[in-house]
């Protein structure tokens, strides 16, 4: 299950999910709109360091260590971004763009690190409230987002299961031999999840 939440009682943990989401949206936009220059890259890095250090994620350097974990988790995205940019742009633009993308992702991650999914679900539901006039059911839309988010690791597990089953039977890896059983298992899981949601009182 996709859970980045780290239990804690810092100020960011205590902040209501709605205002916190707006604050982090503003921060992400701010770093995204920086120009492609060396100082912008430094500003994106400094903003990430400052926000993680001040987020109250734990004693001492806990915030900085968490930032390190987040950046490590993004290593492949960083590598692909910088290499592809270097093919077409100069080094300054490539580094600055990569720094801005990385900063935006790690700043957005703070929201899920410090907020329980239930609180996010409630905030999304409240945020979508005005769309009732357009006949959108906020409860259902928020649930859809939550279920989509939490199903990602399940699909990853199903993919691993398919690969294991193929290896056990000596089958060669191939898109068709992977995709068909994976789709069947994913659809079966969707059916079961639908039943489970119905069984748990979800309309």
């Amino acid at each position: 299950m996709l859970t980045l939440y780290r239990p804690g009682d810092g100020w960011l943990h205590r902040m209501p999910a709605g205002p916190k989401a707006l604050l982090q949206l503003a921060l992400c936009l701010a770093v995204s709109l920086l120009p492609s220059t060396w100082w912008a890259a430094a500003a994106a890095l400094a903003t990430s360091l400052a926000v993680y250090a001040a987020a109250g994620l734990g004693p001492g350097l806990s915030g900085i260590r968490e930032l390190g974990r987040q950046i490590f988790a993004l290593r492949w995205i960083i590598a692909v971004t910088i290499v592809s940019q270097l093919l077409f742009l100069g080094i300054e633009s490539a580094v600055a763009n990569t720094a801005r993308v990385t900063a935006a992702i790690v700043l957005a991650a703070l929201l899920v690190i410090t907020t329980r999914v239930t609180a996010l679900l409630n905030a999304v539901e409240r945020g979508l409230g005005p769309l009732r006039r357009l006949r959108l059911d906020p409860q259902r839309a928020a649930l859809l987002l939550t279920v989509a988010l939490t199903t990602i690791p399940i699909l990853a597990k199903l993919a691993r299961d398919v690969r294991k089953a193929q290896r056990a039977r000596g089958a060669r890896a191939g898109l068709r031999t992977f995709a068909i059983p994976f789709l069947v298992m994913a659809l079966k899981h969707a059916d079961e999840l639908g039943d489970a949601l119905t069984a748990r009182g979800v309309r």
């Binding site: 299950m1 996709l2 939550t146 690791p153 039943d195 119905t198 069984a199 748990r200 009182g201």
Partner: protein, 241 residues
């Protein structure tokens, strides 16, 4: 046929499960045919071979598949017209706990079951804490739901079902993926009387023996209904043929 063989009925609620010539057709297949039974016992085992209609019977009672004929009453309600009311009183537990877990942490997943009730935060926390304590999951409250062991996941699924205080629990092979120790723990929780009725679909005949009554399905029909000893005896005799 009337349930509750071998037990005094005086302390039970009168609104059991009543089926009168119920049919279920899925696509072109008649999965259940003219099923008539009255289940008034607190615990009923449903046994039979694969494809005999057991799971469809459980899904029918849980409101997941509609009947295509006959009359059906569950806890005094008709699932065709009172589905929402019925779902508030029923909990289902399936064999695969992965498909039942929705939220990323244990406590949040249990709380998810109460989401539709719109409880105050304090009451919600209290209900969740009590349920976690009952199922021995308190220490795992902030753990990732899908990082749990198979046994812990099924306990979480049970916890999510029982936190709603259901009057009827329908469990479809809830111990199928579990080792003996975890199967016993899950079964003990299912059989602990919290004022609920239990419909237990199982291939585990030892588990079926713990019920007060049993139903044997064969080719979409009820072949035998009675005490577990009688029904299991008939089933085993049929298997030897």
């Amino acid at each position: 046929m009337t349930a509750s063989p071998g037990r005094d009925d005086s302390d039970r609620p009168t609104d059991g499960i009543h089926l009168d010539r119920v049919d279920v057709r899925l696509g072109e297949a008649d999965v259940l045919r003219e099923v008539s039974v009255e289940l008034d016992a607190r615990t009923t085992a449903v046994i039979g071979e694969n494809g005999s209609g057991k799971s469809t019977f459980a899904r029918l009672l849980g409101g997941l598949v509609p009947r295509t004929g006959g009359e059906l009453s569950i806890l005094g309600l008709d699932p065709a017209t009172q589905a929402a009311e019925l779902r508030r009183r029923i909990a289902l537990v399936f064999s695969n706990p992965d498909a039942q877990i929705v939220m990323p942490t244990v406590a949040e997943d249990v709380a998810f079951s109460l989401r539709a009730d719109r409880l105050r935060a304090a009451e919600l926390d209290e209900r969740v804490a009590a349920a976690l304590d009952r199922f021995g999951l308190t220490s795992l409250a902030d753990r990732s739901s899908h990082d749990l062991s198979g046994g812990q996941k099924q306990l979480l699924a049970l916890c999510g079902a029982f936190v709603r205080r259901p009057r009827l629990v329908i469990a479809d092979e809830p111990t199928a993926y579990l080792d003996a120790r975890n199967a016993r723990r899950v079964a003990d929780h299912l059989f602990t009387d919290t004022g609920h009725r239990l419909i237990l679909v199982t291939h585990d005949l030892a588990l079926a023996e713990r019920c007060e009554s049993a139903v044997l399905f064969d080719s979409g029909r009820i072949a035998t209904f009675g005490t577990p000893a009688e029904v299991i005896g008939r089933y085993q005799a049929a298997l030897r043929c």
